[in-house]
Amino acid sequence: MSPVLAGVLQLLALMAALALAHIPLGGYMAKVYSSDKHWRVERWIYKGIGADPDTDMRWPAYLRGVLAFSFAGVLFLYLLQRLQGVLPGSLGFAAIDPDQAFNTAVSFVTNTNWQSYYGEQAMGHVVQTAGLAVQNFVSAAVGMAVAVALVRGFARSRTGELGNFWADLVRGVVRVLVPIAAVAAVVLVACGAVQNFSGIHEVGQFMGGSQQWNGGAVASQEAIKELGTNGGGYFNANSAHPFENPTPFTNLFEIFLILLIPFSLTRTFGVMVGSVRQGYAILATMATIWVGFVALMMWTEFAHNGPALDIAGGSMEGKEVRFGVGGSSIFAVSTTLTSTGAVDSFHSSFTGLGGGITMLGMMLGEIAPGGVGSGLYGMLIMAIIAVFIAGLMVGRTPEYLGKKIGTREIKFAACYILVTPALVLAFTAVAMALPTPGNSMTNSGAHGFSEILYAYTSAANNNGSAFAGLNADTQWFNTTLGVAMLLGRFVPMVFVLALAGSLAEQKPVPATAGTLRTEKPLFTGLLVGAILIITGLTYFPALALGPLAEGLAA
């Protein structure tokens, strides 16, 4: 069997597994977020929080909950790192410097998981397990909560109420993320991912002497890192490290975990708005882009254009033998089209065009299928834009799911899509204009520019992967990337929740013969087109200077 065929078969197997899993999981999540009943453990948690899970919140209150919880998360994680030197279970690792601790705290709370540190030589058991891994769960649950609030905005009418943030947060953790992650973690251990508290210890070697390993709760963190589309590796090499991703099976399994909740949420959406066909239209849009990107990636990586890859005879630099080009290509696309940023191969050493595809995936706003929660709300914003464009063409007030898309709604949607491009392009331009940030580049020329463009794209879109040649542990990058992550996460959330509140207040408009049928393939086509055109127009000049210049020269 040729490697290309094996790659395609892996893609097909993945699609089949996701098609099977998304219906029950999507339906289950719809029940979770609609149920009136509380589990006993949840009641204990609500008591611990001191919150009443049954009070419905209007959008400002919901937003305040999101912000307060996230602020507490940043503060706690920052302090945990600053105090690492005196915490027990820290393996003798010292406190993290202030700028790096700020960057890392923001990074994990915003579901970005950008890492300017080397996991195995900087973070002890306590910070990894009780700090970083916790944010893997709760930042994912916050994303899901905001997405569900927007879905309720469509589903409800004549009320401004969007649900209870604390209930949505706790249910996302307790009923969705923890059970799936626990099962997945055990599967990973069974395949060879490590799970112990042995710390740093010596292991003998074949040629004599010994090597030093850093053991830890790796599998448990790996499972939620993928499932919650977080992506922060326990080790520096992330999911390329054999202790995180030991076999070809775990590789595909981890990609499955990355895509599982984002795709399933389209079903949740369909069920909650009372039309699963609307969910299918969104799912089809996401799947079309994702499959298209995988195909492009496999094409360019198997073609392996580029001086070094040509001489080597294959695109294996930065890739593991057990995954090969096919498995690495699927992983790279899936991690950058979601907000994951975990890597099983190093994007900086991909072909010029392959690196461009990973960047473009993030620039789409990570909506195909996107991060847990953030993918769905990002895609629904794009759907509103698409409906609006269609409305302009026929001269009719646009509607989506029985709600009028008026001036107010379209303003919120437009602001949403402007935030991340503004952050990416402005920060990249400033970094290129200043004398010192360029010193962090490993590669020169077009690829050096790509390293910086990639960094801000990754941060503002909350992805977290990198063209890792960039030495990002400088005060400039730690600070500006941290700011980009914060603004890229929470400013869009403000617009999403404001939009949700505005939609929930409306009374539904009955569908007429003139209503655009948003559950039809025609709309999916329109939506795919709108996404590609809007992103293309925004980023084409920047992409031309970086990956396109490199890829076309090869």
Binding site: G92, F137, M316, E317
Partner: protein, 222 residues
């Protein structure tokens, strides 16, 4: 003003309490339960898949090693010990710089781009070395026989595997250096070649450490 301040403070306290409670669930209970199950059911795998030879732990079947000669005087980079099968280049493997009380293995890739001149040179040098080292006693390796994994560094720097093609071109050299028949070494490689999982997952591969352990046993027996 006062009430809004109190409200903000109350909200922040709620946020902090929520974080602490969820930390107990996801940061303490969850990893401990997974560790308990993992250590109970799969202790070998949960602890790093160590493998032993002659009762001694010689590494992990998942972590690649170097098979080099001891450093000579004034040498900075060690020479490969050509008696043993060689793994992939490890140009991206870092050394501990933050916590220098340890000599941890620091995983990592080179992150060099496809048009990076340094990478071009590394690949050229590696290819020349593979051709030279493995062309022995009437057996010639052509540059076009050298597979890509033999001349590129992996993502982790710790890749435990090589492609079967790379193992195959090393057979003659290893046989000669160890005084074993070529057929016997080739058989060893074939036995240690693992196909794609279920026929389509990943790529065929040879675990270098396991192969070298088996080789050492045969050398000792001959």
């Amino acid at each position: 003003m006062n009430t809004s301040l109190t409200n903000t403070a109350r909200l922040l306290v709620a946020g902090l309490r929520a974080l602490l409670v969820l930390t107990v669930v996801t940061g303490i209970v969850y990893p401990l339960v997974v560790t308990g199950i993992g250590q109970g059911l799969f202790p070998g795998k949960a602890n790093g898949s160590e493998i032993k030879a002659d009762g001694q732990v010689v590494g992990s079947s998942l972590i690649g090693q170097s098979y080099d000669l001891p450093l000579g005087k004034g040498q900075e980079t060690p020479e490969p010990d050509l008696k043993w099968f060689q793994g992939r280049p490890q140009n991206g493997l870092g050394t501990n710089s933050v916590n220098t009380q340890y000599e941890l293995i620091l995983s990592g890739a080179t992150n060099r781009s496809a048009d990076n001149e340094e990478l071009v040179q590394w690949v050229k040098d590696a290819k020349a070395a593979v051709v030279k080292d493995n062309s022995v006693g009437g057996y010639t390796v052509k540059p076009s026989d050298v597979p890509a994994d033999a001349v590129t560094s992996s993502g982790s720097g710790l890749d435990p595997d090589i492609s079967p093609q790379y193992a195959d071109i090393q057979v003659h050299r290893v046989a000669e250096k160890n005084g074993l028949p070529v057929d016997q070494v080739q058989k060893l490689v074939d036995e240690h070649t693992e196909g794609r999982t279920l026929g389509f997952l990943g790529e065929p591969r040879v675990n270098v450490l396991e192969l070298n352990i088996a080789l050492r046993e045969q050398v000792a027996a001959s």
